[in-house]
C-alpha cells in the first residue's frame, strides 16, 4: 500500500538528514549557491503576487510609478471595479464554466482512461495511438470550423459552446490512462467477486482509490478552464456572458488603464485557482507522482 500521507515531493525518512551535511568548504559554497539561486527564483516567482496585492491598494498613477508599499485606495479601487463591472454576474459565468467544465472533463476523460487501460484490444490500442497523434494539433487549426459549427447550431454566446469542446481532453485521458496502470488489478478482481458491476467498480472502488489522481487532474483542468481565453473570446459575445478573464482583460486594453481597479479585479480573478491549489496541493503532488511512473 502506498503511504497516502506523503507530505511532499522528495520527502524521505528523516534518518539520513543530519548525517549528510556536507563538510568540505567547496561543498558548503555549492550549497550556499543553491540556496541563493532558489531564493532568487522564489522571489521572482512570488513578487508579482505581492505586487498584485499591493497594487490593488494603490492609485493607478502610483502603480505605474512603481510604488511597492501598501496604499489606502483598496476601497476606491473596489468601488470603481464594481461600478464598471457586473462582478457577480461575471464571476458566476467563470465559476459555472470552470466548475461544470472541470466536473465533466474529469468524468468523461477518466472513464476513457480507465476504459483504454482496463479493456485492451487491438482496435482500441490503435484508436489510442491515433488520439496521441491528435494531441499535437493546435487549437488554432480547429477554431474556425468549431466557430462555424456552433454558429450553425445557434449556440454562440452560451456556456455550452465554451464548455463542450474542452470536455474530452486527450491530454487528460492520457494522464488517467497512465495513472490507471498503477491501479492494482486485484482490487478490480476482488470487487467483481464481491458482486460489483463494472460501473460500480469505477464509482465505488476506482474513483475513491484514485483520488490523488483526480485531485491533480482537477487542478490542471480547473486552471485551464478558468484561464481559457482564446475560445471564450471568440464564442462569448455579450458582456453579460463573458468570463472574468475576458472582462478584466478588456479593461487593460483601455487607452489609460486604471491599474488600481484592474489589479483589484485580478486579485478576484486569481483567488479561485489559488484556493483550489492550496486545498488540493498535497494530493496534487501524489497524483503527479502516480502519473509519471
Amino acid at each position: 500500500m502506498t503511504d497516502t500521507s506523503l507530505p511532499a515531493v522528495g520527502a524521505r525518512p528523516a534518518a539520513n538528514v543530519r548525517s549528510r551535511v556536507p563538510a568540505n568548504p567547496f561543498a558548503i559554497l555549492r550549497r550556499a549557491l543553491v540556496y541563493v539561486l532558489l531564493s532568487i527564483a522564489a522571489f521572482v516567482s512570488v513578487f508579482p503576487f505581492f505586487w498584485m496585492i499591493v497594487g490593488a491598494t494603490n492609485k493607478s498613477a502610483d502603480i505605474i510609478r512603481g510604488k511597492n508599499s501598501f496604499g489606502s485606495e483598496l476601497f476606491n479601487n473596489a468601488a470603481t471595479f464594481f461600478t464598471q463591472v457586473d462582478a457577480l454576474r461575471v464571476f458566476w459565468n467563470s465559476a459555472f464554466i470552470a466548475v461544470v467544465g472541470t466536473a465533466l472533463t474529469l468524468l468523461i476523460s477518466s472513464l476513457a482512461g480507465y476504459g483504454f487501460e482496463m479493456f485492451r484490444s487491438k482496435v482500441r490500442e490503435r484508436i489510442f495511438a491515433l488520439l496521441l497523434l491528435f494531441l499535437s494539433i493546435p487549437f488554432a487549426a480547429m477554431m474556425v470550423p468549431l466557430f462555424v459549427m456552433f454558429s450553425q447550431a445557434k449556440l454562440v454566446n452560451t456556456y455550452t459552446a465554451v464548455i463542450l469542446p474542452t470536455v474530452a481532453s486527450i491530454f487528460i485521458i492520457f494522464y488517467f490512462r497512465q495513472a490507471t496502470k498503477a491501479f492494482p488489478s486485484e482490487l478490480r478482481d476482488a470487487a467483481k467477486i464481491d458482486g460489483l458491476k463494472e460501473w460500480q467498480i469505477f464509482l465505488f472502488v476506482y474513483m475513491p482509490v484514485m483520488r490523488s489522481t483526480y485531485a491533480a487532474a482537477t487542478i490542471i483542468i480547473f486552471m485551464a478552464n478558468w484561464n481559457n481565453y482564446l475560445w471564450p473570446l471568440i464564442v462569448l459575445q455579450t458582456a453579460e456572458n463573458k468570463t472574468i478573464t475576458l472582462i478584466v482583460s478588456a479593461l487593460t486594453s483601455a487607452y489609460t488603464p486604471d491599474y488600481g481597479m484592474i489589479l483589484f479585479g485580478t486579485v478576484l480573478a486569481t483567488l479561485p485557482t489559488l484556493v483550489i491549489f492550496f486545498l488540493l496541493q498535497r494530493r496534487f503532488v501524489e497524483g503527479m507522482l502516480g502519473a509519471v511512473k
Binding site: 478482481d189 476482488a190 467483481k192
Partner: protein
C-alpha cells in the same frame, strides 16, 4: 460446501493456449492445492474457477451446476488474493461487509456477519482501522475475513502467503489449516511453494505448462511420483537425478549402470524399460545411505557442505553431475574432499528419456 468438476477446461489468449485441457474432480470439504512452477497456469485455472477469466472451452461445475457463464459473485465462491486486494479507502469493517452490501443484505445482518467473522479471526479490535494501518499478517487475516463473511461454498486462495515473511508464513499456514477444519468448506489453494502444498493439502494437483501432471495425496506424490517432473518438484531439497542406462533385464527387475560412475551397477525392481535404453535414476537427498549399506556405493567430490545443526547438506559432484546429499549432522566430516554414499534400489526411481516413470 460444494464439490467441483472441471471437464476438458481450456484457456487460450489468441493463438497461445495456456490451459490445455484440464479434467479434475474436487470433493466437497476437500483442501486442494494447485502447485507448479510460475507460468504453469495454476493461477489462471483458479481465476477461471472464480469467473475472473473466461473459459475458452470445457465445462466448470460447482455443486453440480454449470458455472461457465455465471457472474463471479454468484458462484458461491470467495477469493483471497496475493496482494490481499483490500479496498484502501475503507475500514476493515467496510471491507468485510462490502460484498454483502451489494448483495442487498440488511444492515444489521451485515454487522452481525462481520462481527462473527472478526471473532473467528481475532480481528475485533481492528475493525475500524484502514488497511494501511495494519501489518502484513493482519491484512492477510482481513482478506480471509472478507472471504469468510460471504459464507462461501468454495474458498479460493491465490498465493496468499507469498507476501509475508518466513515466520508469519508458517503462522498463517497453521491458521489456514485450522480455519479449514473449523469451517469445513471446500478450499482451492494456489502456491508455488511445495512445502505449503505438502503441509496444507488433502489433495495436491501438480501442473506444468497448462497440463495436470499428477493428482494425489501429498505423501503419495512423494513416495510414488508419476514422472520426473513431479519427482523433482515435490520434496525438499530437490530429488537428485543420475544418468544411467539399462544393461540387463529380467522379470520384475532391471539392472542399470551409472554413466558417471564407471563400474557401478545395481538392480532396481521394475518391469518396464529395454536393454540399452538411456534412463535417469532419481534418488532423494535423504535416501542415500552409509557406504556399504545399499546395493552400490558411489564416490563424490565435495563442493560445499552446509551444517545446520541437526542435519547437513553436502553439495557434491561426479563427472559433471551435481548432487545434494542429506546426512545426519556429521561435524567430523568437515573439510573432507570426498564422500562415499550408498544407493538403495528400493528408494530409487527410474525415468525414461521422456521423463515418464519406469515401474
Amino acid at each position: 460446501m460444494s464439490s467441483l468438476k472441471l471437464s476438458g477446461v481450456r484457456k487460450s489468449y489468441g493463438h497461445v493456449e495456456v490451459i490445455k485441457g484440464v479434467d479434475l474432480e474436487i470433493k466437497s470439504k476437500e483442501f486442494v492445492v494447485f502447485v507448479g512452477p510460475s507460468g504453469c497456469g495454476k493461477s489462471t485455472l483458479l481465476r477461471m474457477i472464480a469467473g475472473l477469466e473466461h473459459i475458452s472451452a470445457g465445462d466448470l461445475e460447482i455443486g453440480g451446476t454449470r458455472m461457465n457463464d455465471v457472474d463471479p459473485s454468484k458462484r458461491g465462491i470467495a477469493m483471497v488474493f496475493q496482494s490481499y486486494a483490500l479496498y484502501p479507502h475503507m475500514t476493515v469493517r467496510e471491507n468485510m461487509g462490502f460484498a454483502l452490501r451489494f448483495a442487498g443484505v440488511a444492515k444489521d445482518q451485515i454487522a452481525r456477519q462481520v462481527q462473527d467473522a472478526a471473532r473467528i479471526l481475532a480481528l475485533e479490535p481492528l475493525l475500524d482501522r484502514l488497511p494501511k494501518e495494519l501489518s502484513g499478517g493482519q491484512r492477510q487475516r482481513v482478506a480471509i475475513g472478507r472471504a469468510i463473511v460471504r459464507n462461501p461454498e468454495v474458498f479460493l486462495f491465490d498465493e496468499p502467503l507469498s507476501n509475508l515473511d518466513a515466520e508469519l508464513r508458517v503462522h498463517m499456514r497453521i491458521e489456514i489449516a485450522r480455519l479449514h477444519k473449523e469451517l469445513q468448506t471446500t478450499v482451492i489453494y494456489v502456491t508455488h511453494d511445495q512445502v505449503e502444498a505438502m503441509t496444507l493439502a488433502d489433495t495436491i494437483v501438480v501442473l506444468r505448462d497448462g497440463v495436470i501432471e499428477q493428482v494425489g495425496r501429498p505423501l503419495d506424490l512423494y513416495d510414488n511420483p508419476a514422472n520426473q517432473f513431479v519427482a523433482g518438484f515435490i520434496g525438499s531439497p530437490k530429488m537428485n537425478f543420475l544418468a544411467a542406462s539399462i544393461v540387463e533385464k529380467s522379470a520384475g527387475s532391471v539392472t542399470v549402470a551409472l554413466r558417471n560412475h564407471s563400474g557401478v551397477q545395481f538392480t532396481v525392481p521394475a518391469s518396464g524399460g529395454a536393454v540399452g535404453e538411456d534412463v535417469t535414476l532419481g534418488v532423494r537427498a535423504e535416501h542415500f545411505g552409509e557406504p556399504g549399506a545399499g546395493a552400490a556405493d558411489i564416490r563424490l567430490n565435495v563442493d560445499v557442505a552446509e551444517h545446520l545443526g541437526s542435519t547437513s547438506y553436502v553439495y557434491a559432484n561426479a563427472g559433471g553431475e551435481s548432487l545434494i546429499i542429506e546426512r545426519e549432522e556429521s561435524r567430523n566430516e568437515m573439510g573432507q574432499e570426498h564422500i562415499t554414499v550408498s544407493i538403495s534400489p528400493e528408494r530409487a526411481f527410474l525415468f525414461d528419456s521422456k521423463g515418464q516413470r519406469i515401474r
